[in-house]
């Protein structure tokens, strides 16, 4: 009973969905009286034109890899974590506290400590929704949405009352010490004689994100825990029957998910801003949903999807600069990608299935 070959399910369907999403986005651009071809050219130029642009694209990509992996871990346990945004914000607080209150001698020591800080705070913010889902059956989608708002209020309060530099006008923490400065690509590539733009924020976190993606693969497909998470996601009753403790799986999956979101803070808080600012996450947590859906919850897919959204994000900024198309266009594209790859999956799948069945019959005949 093989309806469709595996490659069609893994590659063809997402590709068609994304194509549809981009087609509609092109129509939106045409509807507001702009030229879609010109827009794409501007975006490609703005995202990959020089090493400064590439640096920004990869910087955004780093954020989206972390949040995409975060959403995907939860999704493997059939949990829809909309709370990556808040978890990443709390992760930022954790990273900031680690960087502010310890005089780090060198980034190589500061980075692991900051990673722990971000991951622990992010995981802690995911813990309550996870516990309530597992123990009390409170729907995780609603509780994580609520926790996004509570988190943003909490960060606002802490920034204003505790971390803000007295006398300063802006609500942001003090700058981290020089020992907490992460090397950027400019500094990392200089010893090899490669000239990379000095101002681009991409930094060593990008490599950590790639490592996290590799770790994700091993966790989900090569460990007992990953097997249990997937089994629980496939069928809760079957998992229970096999002796898997559902409470444990829900809580652990969400803790990992929250930790991955929190890890994002080493990129945006420690790597780029080098201080904690209000609303530092800027929607990256929500983009993680699109990235995970588009990447089919597989690390390779997630890295590619994160790169695509990094391109959209950076290119979209240039678009607003050169073509006076608001950068919210990226949000529209993001929405369409989520819609087509997530909710309208059957619209693409059903006709394709029919097509493949028809083709198979022909072969047999």
């Amino acid at each position: 009973m093989n309806k469709m070959p595996k490659w069609a399910d893994a590659v063809l369907i997402p590709l068609i969905s994304i194509l549809l999403a981009f087609l509609l986005s092109g129509l939106v651009i045409m509807a507001i009286g702009k030229d879609p071809v010109m827009a794409i050219k501007t975006m490609v130029q703005g995202a990959f034109g020089n090493s400064n642009n590439i640096g920004y694209t990869l910087y955004y990509t780093t954020n989206f890899i972390f949040t995409g992996l975060s959403v995907a871990v939860a999704y493997h346990a059939r949990l829809f974590n909309i709370g990556s945004e808040g978890q990443a914000a709390l992760g930022g607080l954790g990273v900031a506290l680690v960087c502010l209150y310890v005089p780090w001698p060198h980034w190589a020591i500061a980075l692991p400590a900051a990673m722990i800080g971000g991951a622990v705070f992010g995981a802690a913010w995911a813990f309550i929704p996870a516990y309530l889902q597992a123990k009390r059956g409170s729907h995780i989608v609603i509780t994580t949405i609520m926790f996004n708002f509570i988190g943003s209020a909490l960060i606002g309060y802490i920034l204003l009352n505790y971390l803000k530099v007295p006398g300063s006008m802006s609500t942001e923490s003090a700058r981290f010490g020089a020992g907490a400065h992460l090397p950027t690509f400019h500094e990392m590539l200089a010893p090899f004689g490669i000239e990379f733009n000095k101002n681009a924020p991409v930094n060593v976190s990008f490599l950590i994100a790639l490592l996290a993606a590799v770790g994700f693969y091993f966790l989900i497909w090569r460990t007992r825990l990953g097997y249990e998470i997937r089994a629980y996601g496939q069928s809760e009753t079957a998992a229970k029957y096999a002796g898997i403790n559902p409470v444990r799986i829900v809580v652990i999956a969400m803790l990992i998910s929250g930790a991955l979101s929190g890890l994002m803070a080493i990129n945006n808080v420690m790597g780029e801003a080098e201080r904690l600012i209000d609303n530092a996450v800027e929607g990256a947590g929500f983009i993680g949903i699109a990235v995970a859906l588009m990447g089919r919850n597989h690390p390779i897919g997630i890295v590619l999807a994160a790169l695509l959204f990094g391109f959209l994000y950076q290119g979209g900024g240039e678009l607003s600069f050169w073509e006076s198309i608001p950068r919210e266009l990226v949000v529209v594209i993001q929405a369409l990608v989520i819609m087509f790859t997530g909710a309208l999956d059957n619209m693409v799948r059903a006709p394709l299935e029919k097509l493949f069945i028809a083709l198979n019959k022909k072969k047999e005949a």
Partner: protein, 320 residues
Amino acid sequence: MDYLTIIQILDSTVRLATPLLLTCLAGLFSERAGVVDIGLEGKLLAAAFLAGAAASVTGSIWIGLLAGVAGSLAFSMIHGLASITFKGDQLISGVALNFLAAGLTVVVGQSWFKLGGRTPSLPTDARFGEWNLPFSDALANVPFIGPLYHELISGHTALTYMALLAVPLSWWVLYRTRFGLRLRAVGENPSAVDTAGVSVVRLRFAALVIAGVLCGMAGTYLASLAAGFVKDMSAGRGYIALAALIFAKWRPWYALSATMLFGLLEAIGNRYQSITMGDFTIPVQFMQALPYILTVIILAGFVGKAIPPRAGGTPYVKER
């Protein structure tokens, strides 16, 4: 705190609760029919934008209302197409619609008005006027009852009174009509409804139409209150309404009290930057977060249990 201050706070409570109430009732119809609606926020935003745009072009808020309802309905139908027709994930579809509204309103708004995503400011006659109930001026100076009647009960917009009327109406439709019985049944046990020969798809779409209209009204109210559309003006109200819906345990009268409570919290938060109680100061951020905290507590089931409609969130697949 004197009597007049209390009246004023309650007055702004009603003002702030109106869009929440309409949105909450919208969610009520949709979720009672088994379609979870995270997309309330997006519908609210889309409606506010189209209402603001139409009202500023035509100079009539009633035409704005039509446009707002049309926009909200369109979003509702996309949600229906994705989650009912194509049996997609209702949560994902709702999330997508929220982003779609957040993005499209600014992109289209910039292209239409070139004001950075805003619509032009609405003059007073292109907004909802305040309705003065009979004798409100004559009674204004009567002690105690005067301010109560003049400030609190009278002097709201037509939509506020419509929202308040929508509560008993919703109750009546849901609990006293055949349509309401079927609607509630389709949210609990759709296959039973299907067996009885009633179309699950049609009922769910009907619920989404009602939700679309109510959200359209709420969005128009926002645009009228703020005298035009500004980027992200719904500011999480769709989510607060969702929270109120859980708080209200998916019942119309409870929805009224839940939204009034959340409106009161917002009104107090707007009026006082921080509240000092003896040595203890409640920060304004806590007031802002309180609706969400309360919802989590209610969801946790420590104070009464909120049980959602049983078939909520799952697309109905007919047995073959």
